[in-house]
Symmetry: C2
Subunit: 188 residues, 2 copies
Amino acid sequence: MLRGRTLWMATGNPHKHREARIILMEYGLDLRRLETKRIEIQADDLEEIAAYSVEHIPEADSRPIVVEDAGLFIHHLKGFPGPYSSYVLKTIGLGGILKLMEGVQNREATFKSVVALRWRGETHLFVGEVQGRIATEIRGSQGFGYDPIFIPDEGDGRTFGEMTIREKNTLSHRARAFRRLALWLTSR
Amino acid sequence: MLRGRTLWMATGNPHKHREARIILMEYGLDLRRLETKRIEIQADDLEEIAAYSVEHIPEADSRPIVVEDAGLFIHHLKGFPGPYSSYVLKTIGLGGILKLMEGVQNREATFKSVVALRWRGETHLFVGEVQGRIATEIRGSQGFGYDPIFIPDEGDGRTFGEMTIREKNTLSHRARAFRRLALWLTSR
């Protein structure tokens, strides 16, 4: 088990840290935030990006560190914006995505999260996914990123942006990946 | 001067290599293609991406190597697709860009190229830019990438896709960056 049941998450995004911390608390784990420079490579799969990132954080030599990389993969758009979700949000934004999806019948999308843990010189990956569809308008102001346009299939028709953090945590991609991490850590 | 007047370009894109080789030939330089794995980081500026990339190519320890990173920055879209131009092309494609630009008056765009040279343990950057606008339809089948929708301001109204490689080389961002590299190398 982890000494002190503590691990660090290297992220510049406080929303991500908050969602993940709430999950890990359920398993008696304490997820602290580490402010450090992360290198993100360009790659089509999140696994490669997350692994490279955590393996290039100097602090990972001395303590357990996690990095999370997430992306929204819209099927009709061949996976766009995928690994570049945050850049796309910052430039064309939700409005750009809705414009690209205007008149498109197939609105299926996958939200995916990959958590990379670096611990004792080894990297372990944990993946979570949620299927859903792209809304035709922006709905809700909770969450962050693409939450206001993503409607999970297993939900009640609301977007992630219309859910509280605890509701979102019952079915989100990020929650699933962090639960897998927690189960793995607590079963050792 | 370079021994044998030879340098290597690490790229998976034969079009880029061909355009650059023709330019450098004018200066008596021989640009060969090196097939190697390149690491591309996610960053908003091409300079950072190109420098990191060339500094992480093992072969750069023993011979002069260049890496080029280019992107199309559409002003109305806050610079999108920018550093992620090849991923965007592969997913939403030229059709996606035209859809995002539907009804948009401001069609200004900048094509930018950064060449990073690694030589004798140092990195040198050479930048080339060309201003233009986004066409309202795909025109021409020459060149590659965004060439069929980019109309340079200094041209005659044709897109890069409607120009021969030699015509494009008189005013392209890539040609400008490589000419700067050539002048620097041949003036030493």
